[in-house]
């Protein structure tokens, strides 16, 4: 066997070695990337969201806006206190409610209700909302996010489980249904 043949065979084997490793890297990348992208799983359809109870609706007197908290439906044991999510419940009259997300529509800070002035105020960048959640002043580009709600028996339920952001509002959630109709 000539020397040049020997070299070209080694070259070929070297390339084969590169190829095998390249192919294996590509194959292994599929599960690894799939694992990395697993947080996206719930965005198609509504895997993350569920009806959660805010307790008996008698706890929310007519004409008042009160803070309620619920347990995140997708909570895990390592979540600790972060599994408890607050929201503002406005009982307008009868079976007519508005349930607002705590997060300011500007950048997500917790808005506070001031009953006397009838305003929600945000402590971060100065967003202010009226009692019905519509934008009053400041940087928010829209009113407060609201949760869909229903009354089952004597209990008030909301459809929750996702941090409300403008993206959810932009209809990027597959299926086109907005998680927070506002």
């Amino acid at each position: 066997m000539s020397e040049s043949n020997e070299i070209s065979r080694r070259r070929a084997l070297f390339k084969l070695g590169l190829l095998i490793n390249g192919v294996m890297a590509a194959i292994l990348a599929v599960p690894f990337v799939g694992y990395l992208l697993s947080p996206l799983r719930g965005t198609a359809g509504h895997g993350y969201k569920a009806w959660v109870s805010l307790g008996p609706f008698s706890g929310f007197p007519e004409g008042q806006t009160r803070l309620a908290t619920f347990h995140n439906p997708t909570a895990s044991p390592t979540d600790g206190q972060t599994a408890n999510i607050p929201c503002w419940v406005r009982h307008i009259a009868g079976q007519n409610f508005q349930v607002f997300a705590i997060n300011c529509a500007h950048l997500g800070c917790p808005v506070r209700w001031f009953a006397q002035s009838g305003l929600f105020m945000c402590p971060c960048h100065g967003g202010v909302y009226y009692a019905d959640g519509s934008r009053a002043s400041g940087p928010p580009p829209r009113g407060l996010f609201t949760y869909p709600y229903k009354i089952d028996g004597d209990r008030l339920f909301i459809y929750a489980g996702e941090l409300p952001t403008l993206a959810a509002d932009a209809g990027t959630v597959a299926g086109g249904r907005k998680p927070c109709v506002g």
Binding site: T82, I85, L107, Q116, A136, S137
Partner: protein
């Protein structure tokens, strides 16, 4: 001694690093570069090493779980011997590292160090800055308190503004649909493995290039950089007016780095560790989230940008800024290096410094944010009530009870969101006051739905008394005939 030499030479025959270390230590640098202006990069590296050491120490106690992190920080602060000190060193080290990286960058910019042939050293440096800021943000989240929780919410809300893929970015940032255990875990992953790994790699590359290309010489006004002659001139400079790096130049680096370490330690001892503030419990909404010092300018910017500009600015400005930094050495890779002949460069640095300083200062008292407790804590000054009619006093009561004080100051106490009202009657007539209260406008909510006509009458009667003694209230110019 002979035994030590024997061990040394035995080891070097195996690791074979002696020649490399000797060449590195003795490589010639321009005598002009052995300057106190050239010490910031090595000081930043020193503080980075400090951060690695203190970070490893903190990880002995810290528990990266949303359920445990805050408690483990309390343990570090109060129960572990000197835990508070290690936390304080890590926190202050972070501030010093950002400051040093920024100063180093400004120095390199003003001394033209990014020009040929060191363009790529600058590009790597830009990524080092971004990684440093990434460490600061992720580190702030690991201090898992109220500020961290709502800070992540702000990050997610910004991601949520990205068109088309915003929702996916939010979920990837949070590790799920909501800020929770998985969120902290991935910030831990970034802060402890991913970004430090990238940082170590980039620092090695950055240093290697400084060695291979040589440190930038002190820029002389009028000595222009040209691609075809620079390398030869630099080589001549090294031969004519150079000296070995050790000990000629390194002693200043060592002394400055030592002083920086002492300064970090002094701050740590005097001011102690940062936080943690309240527990990361989102149901505790009596909180005023604030970012750490080096992100305060951003906090101010987010409050002051016109709303209609905000999304495009948030998403485009960072990309433009980074692109400008990356392209800088390719746009002006030749020519004048000295800042004495580059007025636009100097003005750019000054403008950025003044802008960032102003925003940071503003963020320290946040005039755009309502003062959430002013209405309940601050009484109406007595002099505004003496000698007033019952209606006017009733108006003062409405003013206080309707929480106007959260945004408007009286007697220097109250929110700064709206104008102080001590002399509002000089500026506005009664009719104008009524309109402003009922309809709002100019960033004030409308109170028409929330005040009865009697309350409005009383409130405006009170506001109309608010003018300095001897200065007449505003009057309607159309009614001069009366």
């Amino acid at each position: 001694m002979r035994r030590l030499e024997f061990v040394g030479s035995w080891l070097d025959r195996r690791v074979q690093l002696k020649d490399f270390i000797r060449a590195t230590a003795l490589h010639r640098v321009p005598r002009s570069s052995a300057s106190w202006w050239y010490v910031f990069g090595s000081a930043a590296l020193t503080v980075f090493i400090l951060q690695v050491v203190t970070g490893i120490l903190l990880a002995l106690i810290y528990v990266p779980s949303a359920a445990e992190a805050w408690n483990s920080l309390q343990t570090l602060n109060h129960a572990v011997v000197l835990g508070w000190f290690v936390r304080a060193m890590h926190g202050w080290g972070s501030n010093f590292m950002i400051a040093l990286v920024l100063v180093h960058m400004v120095q390199v910019f003003l001394f033209g160090g990014y020009k040929y042939p060191r363009e790529f050293t600058w590009v790597v440096g830009v990524f080092l800055l971004l990684m440093t800021l990434g460490m600061a943000f992720t580190g702030q989240v690991l201090r898992f308190d109220q500020d961290a929780y709502w800070g992540v919410g702000i990050g997610a809300s910004i991601m949520g503004r990205v068109p088309f893929i915003g929702d996916w970015l939010v979920h990837l940032l949070l590790g799920g649909p909501i800020i929770a255990g998985a969120t902290l875990s991935r910030f831990f992953d970034l802060h402890v493995f991913v970004i430090p790994g990238i940082l170590i790699g980039l620092v090695a590359l950055h240093l290697l290039m400084v060695l291979k290309l040589g440190i930038n010489e002190w820029p002389m006004p009028g000595r222009l950089v040209r691609r075809d002659t620079y390398l030869k001139q630099y080589e001549e400079l090294l031969q004519k007016d150079g000296e070995p790096f050790v000990p000629g130049a390194i002693w200043k680096d060592l002394i400055f780095a030592g002083c920086v370490l002492a300064a970090v330690a002094l701050c740590a001892v005097i001011f102690g560790p940062f936080g943690p503030s309240g527990q990361p419990d989102p149901t505790i909404i009596q909180t005023v989230p604030r970012p750490d010092f080096f992100f305060l300018w951003l906090y101010a910017l987010l409050s002051l940008l016109p709303p209609q500009l905000e999304t495009s600015f948030l998403l485009i400005a960072p990309l433009v800024g980074i692109a400008a930094l990356l392209l800088l050495p390719f746009i002006s890779g030749e020519g004048e290096k000295s800042w004495r002949r580059r007025p636009i460069a100097v003005l750019t640095v000054l403008l950025l410094a003044v802008a960032l300083g102003t925003f940071t200062r503003l963020a320290s008292y946040a005039p755009w944010s309502p003062n959430m407790n002013a209405w309940s804590g601050a009484p109406v000054p007595v002099r505004y009530l003496q000698g007033r009619t019952p209606l006017e006093r009733q108006g003062a009561l409405v003013f206080q009870a309707k929480q106007c004080r959260n945004c408007h100051a009286l007697g220097g106490v109250g929110g700064e969101r709206g104008p102080a009202l001590d002399s509002v009657a000089v500026r506005m007539t009664q009719d104008q006051l009524i309109r402003q209260v009922l309809q709002g406008g100019g960033n004030m909510p409308a109170y028409g739905n929330n005040l009865s006509p009697a309350q409005v009458t009383a409130l405006v009667a009170f506001l109309a008394t608010l003018h300095p003694v001897g200065q007449a209230p505003a009057r309607d110019a159309t009614l001069t005939g009366e």
